[in-house]
């Protein structure tokens, strides 16, 4: 371990290390952040929810969006059909600009 030689070095170190605690910092105050719940019951996983969730988490990091991802049980809808492209749309349209993404929510509903 190289020694810390200046305050600036210490601050740079902090910036670099912050990502390791990022998840804990965010969950300390989850109510103030966007939360995305991915239905990961057997049906969801079979339909590819795990890959989509991983993709979304990477994309959210890339876009520097502070989002808490959690997995939940079955939401009762085995549709929604979010794939990687749809996931990107949800992040860029809905999360960033508050625009609804067409075709993801069943037609009769505005929200779930």
């Amino acid at each position: 371990m190289a020694k810390v030689k200046s305050l600036a070095e210490l601050k740079a170190m902090r910036e670099k290390l912050q990502s390791t605690l990022d998840l804990r910092e965010k969950s300390n105050d989850p109510d103030s952040l966007v939360q995305i719940k991915v239905a990961m019951a057997t049906c969801g996983i079979a339909a590819g929810a795990k890959q989509v969730m991983e993709h979304m988490m990477e994309k959210a990091d890339e876009l520097k969006l502070g989002i808490v991802f959690t997995q939940t049980g079955c939401m009762g809808y085995v549709f929604g059909h979010v794939d990687n492209n749809r996931a990107d749309e949800i992040l860029t349209k809905y999360v960033m600009n508050n625009e609804m993404v067409e075709g993801v929510i069943p037609v009769n509903y505005e929200t779930i």
Partner: protein, 281 residues
Amino acid sequence: MHVLVCGGTGCQASASAQIIENFQRILAEKGLQNEVQVVRTGCFGFCEKGPIVKIMPDNTFYTQVKPEDVEKIINEHIIKGRKVTDLLYLDPENKEHVSDSKHMGFYRKQLRIALRNCGFINPENIDECISRGGYEALGKCLSEMTPQQVIDEVTKSGLRGRGGAGFPTGVKWGLCAKNKCDEMYVICNADEGDPGAFMDRSIMEGDPHSIVEAMAICGYAIGATHGLVYIRAEYPLAIHRLQVAIAQAREYGLLGKDIIPAGYPPSASRHRPGPRIRPAR
């Protein structure tokens, strides 16, 4: 996902070490060891309901967890995303289970200052401390402030001793700084003699670096070159964690001779071997 398991004295007495071992073993069996990080933290402050296990990011607070509950938490919560209701805190008034500690009566009104890192970081990992701003105050004092400015700032802050007399810390430091002698010591009295009090132990076990940093700041302000922490032998975990913290701080060059600043002041006491621990026997 992070699993925080309390590693304070209270929870350790009710098998939290076994809980951590079970988490690590079962997660490894399921191939989840890289996705879920198990962290031994300091005290959450709710020892009565220990051992405490906190799951993040959904901030689920499990109470009185037994080693044999671990498999259920992994299978239900971590894998399937379903909380284990039986292990959630039961509100004594409305008899409802509370999942997030923020909504528990006990925590709702708390604003943690000295204990902000307890139950949040791994106290034996200096990186986690630094990522929450640890040692930056020391860095600032050493590189941007004179000892007198540090003393003035502490005086202005209104910080006072909690020993009963409420003596203003800045005044104390100012008096010490005036007293010139060959060798000065900062002594941290961590004996915690008051019956039934465990807050000092909580800090030492949960955020030991904050004590090391504070002592170094005090040393700089008053011109001391050595530090001593006086701890009772009944606090073996606190002694261990402080020793780890001191060793890590030395390794990082945050404690010892010629630390951090090149700047200010040019020659004043930049010679800090740092605290040593003296357990009372």
